[in-house]
Symmetry: C2
Subunit: 519 residues, 2 copies
């Protein structure tokens, strides 16, 4: 395409493209916009290296003129302008996330990279936020998805944008190192099965907290095992000794951070008693355990029963903190699992989520599109038999209008040079395609959605840190009404156009559509 | 985990892990093994940089001993051994794809990267091969997925492994440059809508093929438009002039490669007539057009009708090659779409597939696992209430046994030092978990599945090129019986264990499982 534009003298044609999506993902009615920073950095660095040009020479037809390759060599994005919504903002269908303006061939060359950088980022950030909305307040959400992502860098994108969407940490250390995301993790089943007896704990000592005194920690654990049998009802000869050895070793390595995976053999006969044994022994040495992880079985039932056991110990030994130990659940959890757990009742404080989060199993692509809306100041419309696929032509600017109770009422698209809506003044908001759908809106406050982000080869706005973006995403969701956010059958949020833009769309539509002939 | 192993004196414990999956993806009964080369290169280069170690110091608890970081600094994979199935081979559940042997902490540190590199690679290669099996022989399959992949590198993985699984090309130029995959593409709708009139074709000339003679190509096209109206039944005043201008420009740039997207406005009233017009004018100048692309609507009906029009022109103007022009279809195609098109009948020669291919919409994760099967020469078994999740303990070696008609009969896992099965000699093959399922197999030929791939810090086998791997994958599928490969309700392929291994599994199982108590 670029060569063809170049050859037909269109290399300087000034074009405007909108990047947007047509439908919110996951049967929801909101989306988190993510990926803008990566887009801007890509655009700023976009150029063809000598080796790129040489490669293209080998794959393009032999008749392609040498001057075109010269053009590629010197191509830059200095003439490109980017208007965009702030990254992390809640966004809706049809409102351009990014509006890209510049020479036609340049913009078409960056089309696919921009789609690539926005699509997955926004999809997975939205997925993360849906998990955040699904869990009870105060729940810790951990992203455990690296093993299921599209390669190592797919995994990094997943960690980055899940954090932006409201997760609290990742098990991907490189993502922690690169993006400052808190890293979290527990141990695996293999850690437990790699031990088979207490004899393997060769160094039996543990130093007491803030003291030089060392105790025989294995001995102390065995004493606690005896004390606990009657309190929480298990048989000391039924617990798996390898599992106890594994928990003891872990506690010796991380006395302040014991979090044990308790389902390797049998949660109630072995895992839970072994954990409580080691946790109480640790407490004798001045350390508090963190909690347990469940990775199989009936998570609702198990978590409730585990909590009961924790409370029993708390009360019997007067260790109130034991009631509040953390219960982490993992095992192939998706959004529906969480809703179902909430309905059943459970005692889970933290979820580790992998596959369904990073692959976005429910809908693995957002379906962003990149549509031409103007060339050389002439608006362009793309018609389709499916009305929802008709594009909104020309340069635009978006506003979010809020009611007096602080809730977002509607997003409004104006033509670029129209008078903006005014606070306290009635504005007619129209459905872009359906004539009869319109409403007067009297905004109590409003926000301009689109800002200039790139011009003269430079990024024009300060780019927030990842944790600022995460905060922005969370804040941006607050004014969105509950009925738009709920998981089941949410109400669509209204996206409208001004009267002027409505007329402009429909005049151009009639002008462009061939009149059918029936015979 | 690594610190805990290190601290409890297990840093040199010799462990063996199996990497395998439990279920073929996409309701199918075969999988293409991919990602081995990336795993081997990762293992060979695995080490902690000074900055990695410094980062880990900031996130690990303060009590972690300095000597552990020294250990990380000098950690290498020289003691690691990898046995694996050849990349590109067809594989089945429970048979280890990779068997990793080495010091316990080292192996656990590389667990997630290996899963990451195998999971998506094998999943998407398998998906690609399913598309390959679904289409008619001779169909060209093009991967158009970059915009929907998990970031730029997710897109590269997709292109690489789709090609391995049997695709013919990609629209991702960087994948072409890096892996030598043929790059293919057409133009977008925006290319068509960016033109609005024939006046935009400023240079109207085209040089005839193998000649210096230049013709007024626009004029020639308009002549052909007149000639064609009666033959293929359209109205010259109903075709969209911008579309014609776009096709003409493309033809001038790529006279040997005209492939037009014909559904921007109206396939039969505008797109198809405009393409035929330009294609016939090109032929006057000595060039043959390539074909058209359909990206919306009823692909079966449209492709059949387009083919009819091509044949009409072929016969009317005595240009037989026109009958065989290529019809490319794109528009959100998945495997089921192709089966449905086949059932309806269609004339499509080539598919461009994006979203459903690279995101593996039907099942976006393969679910490979990495299980400990031995520590310090002691076999390990992981029990589970779900029998399919019980691991097969100890070091193993796999064979594929073939019948006299060349078909693969069964995969057989032996203990590592057992006598291998012999050609022409009855071998008892047992289901690993179900006592009554067993069969004598008399192999006419056989193949050893597992080879040493990494030892003493070095890769031990020649690594084939990507196109060799693609060929291997296609060849490896041939001896698999049709009923294992069919899309609907395929028969599971048998994976079995030797008598010795069967006994070994079940002895260890009984030894490890606690005896329940009913009260």
């Amino acid at each position: 395409m670029a060569y063809s534009y170049w050859k037909s003298g269109k290399k300087a044609d000034r074009s405007v493209f909108d990047l947007y999506f047509r439908k919110n993902p996951f049967h929801g009615e909101f989306t988190v916009f993510a990926g803008l920073e990566e887009c801007l950095k890509f655009i700023q660095n976009f150029s063809f290296s000598e080796s790129d040009v040489n490669y293209l020479k080998t794959v393009l037809p032999a008749n392609v003129e040498e001057e075109f390759f010269e053009y590629l060599r010197t191509l830059s994005t200095d003439d490109v302008e980017i208007y965009a919504i702030d990254e992390g903002e809640i966004v809706f269908p049809k409102v351009p996330l990014i509006m890209v303006e510049g020479p036609l061939p340049v913009i078409q060359l960056i089309e696919t990279p921009l789609l690539n950088l926005v699509n997955y980022a926004s999809l997975v950030a939205t997925n993360a936020m849906r998990f955040r909305n699904a869990v009870k307040p105060g729940t810790t959400l951990l992203e455990f998805g690296l093993r299921r992502a599209q390669g190592p860098d797919g995994g990094l994108s997943a960690s980055r944008y899940c954090y932006m969407g409201g997760f609290d940490g990742t098990s991907n250390s490189l993502a922690g190192k690169m993006f400052g995301i808190p890293v979290r993790g527990t141990h695996a089943h293999a850690f437990v099965t790699s031990y088979y007896s207490l004899d393997e704990v060769t160094n039996k000592k543990l130093k007491k907290k803030n003291s030089e005194e060392e105790v025989d920690f294995v001995e102390l654990c065995l004493q606690w095992q005896q004390k606990l049998t009657s309190v929480i009802d298990f048989l000391a000869d039924q617990v798996i000794p390898g599992e106890l050895a594994a928990f003891i070793s872990y506690a010796q390595a991380f006395p302040d951070n014991l979090l044990s995976l308790i389902d390797t053999y049998d949660v109630f006969r072995s895992g839970l008693p072994n954990f409580c044994t080691v946790a109480m022994a640790l407490f004798d040495c001045g350390y508090k355990a963190v909690g347990i992880r469940l990775d199989s079985g009936d998570l609702a039932y198990q978590s409730i029963h585990v909590r009961k056991v924790f409370k029993k110990i708390a009360s019997h030994f007067s260790v109130p903190w034991f009631s509040d130990l953390i219960i982490v659940a993992s095992n192939d959890i998706n959004e529906d699992t969480i809703h179902s757990l909430n309905q059943q009742g459970h005692e889970i404080n933290s979820f580790g989520i992998g596959t369904h989060l990073v692959t976005c199993q429910k809908q693995p692509a957002l379906g962003c599109v990149f549509k031409l809306v103007e060339v050389n100041n002439k608006a362009r419309i793309k018609l389709s038999e499916d009305v929802e696929k008709v594009t909104i032509p020309g340069r635009k600017i978006g506003y979010r209008l809020y009611g007096s109770d602080g809730h977002a009422l509607v997003d409004l698209l104006n033509q670029q040079h129209e008078t903006p809506p005014e606070i306290g003044k009635r504005t007619l908001c129209r459905h872009p395609f359906q004539e009869s759908k319109r409403a007067y809106v009297n905004p109590a406050s409003m926000k301009v959605l689109h800002k200039i982000y790139y011009k003269h080869g430079k990024i024009q706005q300060r780019l927030p840190t990842l944790s600022d973006l995460r905060e922005r995403a969370m804040k941006s969701l607050i004014p969105i009404r509950e009925d738009h956010k709920r998981a089941l059958n949410p109400t669509p949020y209204k996206v409208s156009v001004s009267s002027n833009l409505y007329k402009f769309i429909h005049d151009l539509w009639l002008e462009s559509a061939p009149i059918g002939e029936l015979s």
